[in-house]
Symmetry: C2
Subunit: 387 residues, 2 copies
């Protein structure tokens, strides 16, 4: 039998070798050629050829040998995670956030600005433009240096990056968000649902890192859900997965009212701030506050139980603004789940809090680059040289 | 750059070549060595080596040249789909079914026997033994020739093949079904939830072949659901996915009562047969029957809407015993979904009816073989020779 790789030819082999070297260097301390050759499963001369080519293209850099080293030290190489950049933007009801990160996902700069929940399309987009400009400037980058950008929004997003339906944000349905962002950055622009991105963030850097199937609950002024199934953010056929709150029987539509209507909120306070007062009073043992929290948690748990019974996840993550009060919410929430579910999964507080959505947007943009640049499965494309 | 396959060595290459040839022959008309070499991307001498080896092991057979062919015809080879067999068993409340199929999934023999819904563990298992024996005999096979067997049951099944919880079947919780079946057949014995297997069957040979995300509804004397997500039957972390019917708010627990309690059912009829009378009367336009169907459909659609809103599937398949009356059920069901869902998916009647579960069990057993014998990704194992 001759040793022939099924379907293989020399240029594909070259691409495979290039990717093997990239993977041997990415997210690693600097390595010598010998170490790279071992990790990539290549011969030493083949490795040297590929590393030279990647260095010429700007993907790989030599690292200065440590001072005081005896003799002639072996040259070490590192992957240039600053060869490209990604941008994550979170357009919320009350706040717009942005993060610039490198190809390893290290945050270079993050920033945010408040926005009125009542702001219309033009006003909200003006805040978006300002936050993106601030974030790029803070990271010392320009929009032209972004390789991929993901924008998070509430509601349903179609495959072209248009907001197909948004109940939470005024004048938002029909907006072509991808198009708007393309005026600010180059590279791919993706738009995705905020709860889904927050779920993704928790599997990346949060409390769901070890879990394959996760129900993420956005518990805040809105209630939403993002699903991770078999390690992937689940979009659904039309991008509408996780919208169980639309079913009135699930309680999510009325859930926040129990907090908003609490009579103990000081006169003149913004109704949006009432939750904070309720949770604080409940923490002190106030009976009517505890009752309001119980009613809120019961409604939250009803929709959550439907998701748990449907999917049987390993983990439920409670995130969103209210998750700061996990000490008040989580125990009664677990008890409510336990009453309704066949198998109650672990319930954890979000590790990322209100940053989860923007962090998830960064991860989503990086995943896009992984699929289109670094994945040997996707047509065996070798990395494109940095622009 | 030397042409070296990352991580490759000669024995892996041999396995890859063997699998490339197997894939070039499986589910194909007989092929010549030249055709196999082209399809597998191998050299002609390498192909000949591999085909000889597979022929000696019993995986591949020469096909007699067509009579009357002029000159010396090229030899043609076929994959021996009869080199191994799989068994699918469906243990239902009223019926036990079994199917023996070959490695291409072609049914060799199928059979069934009624069983009383009230039958306890021992009586039901006695029927299972009888049906399996009949099915093997009908296919001209023995239990020792089965490479993989999947058994379908209602309820939750743990990873070892034990029924962790069954509400529908008497004395069923705690039964180690895999162990019981291992006394009848050799090879792997797998146990899986019946709705999940029916969903799998619809994606294989039914109406869901083109769909990646599917909600399958088992609409019958019980109501259940099986989920297909990204082309895979979704089990969940503890095998409890799809159990949304456990939530009383979802209506599935009471759904069948609307049919069972219909006053038009003839005196003395088995209450389990009342649905047939209701559907028949509704078909004739009987008002009270139509009202009973509407109440049933409304409850069915409530739980279905929760699943649709959670997952946003491409397709909902209505299967189970009641799906024979799709002409009466489907239109009102679609209307109810439409009222509740953000995006109403296509709704189709099962193509496989009451055979779906056993067909899905066969597919599940075949998938097991694909993963453990024919998949180059799973440790690059070459096919094991037939026993």
């Amino acid at each position: 039998m001759t040793g022939q790789f099924a379907g293989g030819d020399l240029s594909r082999l070259r691409q495979l070798n290039t990717l093997a070297v990239v993977h041997a260097l990415r997210r690693q301390p600097p390595r010598t050629l010998t170490e790279v050759a071992r990790a990539a499963g290549l011969s030493r001369p083949a490795t040297e050829d590929v590393v030279r080519e990647l260095e010429a293209q700007g993907w790989v850099a030599q690292v200065d040998p440590a001072a005081g080293t005896m003799g002639r030290p072996a040259r070490r190489y590192r992957f240039r995670s600053d060869a490209g950049w990604v941008l994550g933007v979170d357009i919320g009801g009350h706040t717009v956030r942005a993060i610039v990160a490198d190809l390893d996902g290290q945050t270079q700069f993050g920033t945010r600005q408040p926005v009125s929940p009542a702001a219309g399309r033009a006003d909200r987009l003006a805040v978006v433009d300002k936050v993106v400009a601030e974030c790029l400037a803070g990271a010392g980058r320009t929009g032209a240096e972004m390789w991929a950008t993901t924008v998070a929004t509430s509601g349903l997003v179609d495959a072209t990056g248009r907001v197909a339906l948004s109940v939470a944000l005024p004048e938002w349905t029909g907006l072509h968000l991808a198009e708007h962002l393309r005026r600010l950055v180059s590279g791919a622009v993706l738009v995705e649902n905020d709860s889904r991105l927050a779920a993704l963030a928790e599997t990346w850097r949060g409390v769901a890192r070890y879990a394959r199937d996760v129900v993420y609950l956005l518990a805040g002024l809105r209630t939403g859900a993002g699903l991770i199934i078999a390690g992937q953010a689940h979009r659904g056929f039309g991008g509408a997965a996780g919208e169980i709150g639309a079913l009135p029987e699930m309680g999510w539509i009325r859930a926040q009212e129990h907090l908003r209507d609490w009579p103990g909120t000081p006169d003149g306070a913004d109704p949006d701030d009432s939750a904070g007062f309720v949770f604080a009073a409940a923490r002190e043992g106030d009976r009517s506050a505890l009752a309001a929290v119980r009613r809120y948690v019961k409604d939250l748990a009803l929709g959550a139980s439907a998701l748990v019974l449907a999917l049987d996840p390993q983990l439920v993550v409670v995130g969103g603004g209210f998750s700061r009060s996990a000490d008040v919410i989580l125990e009664p929430f677990r008890r409510e789940l336990d009453k309704r579910c066949i198998r109650t999964p672990e319930v954890l507080q979000s590790a990322l809090g209100e940053d989860a959505v923007a962090v998830g947007a960064v991860k989503h943009a990086l995943d896009h680059l992984e699929r289109h640049i670094f994945d040997p499965g996707s047509g065996l494309a070798a990395p494109e040289p940095p622009r």
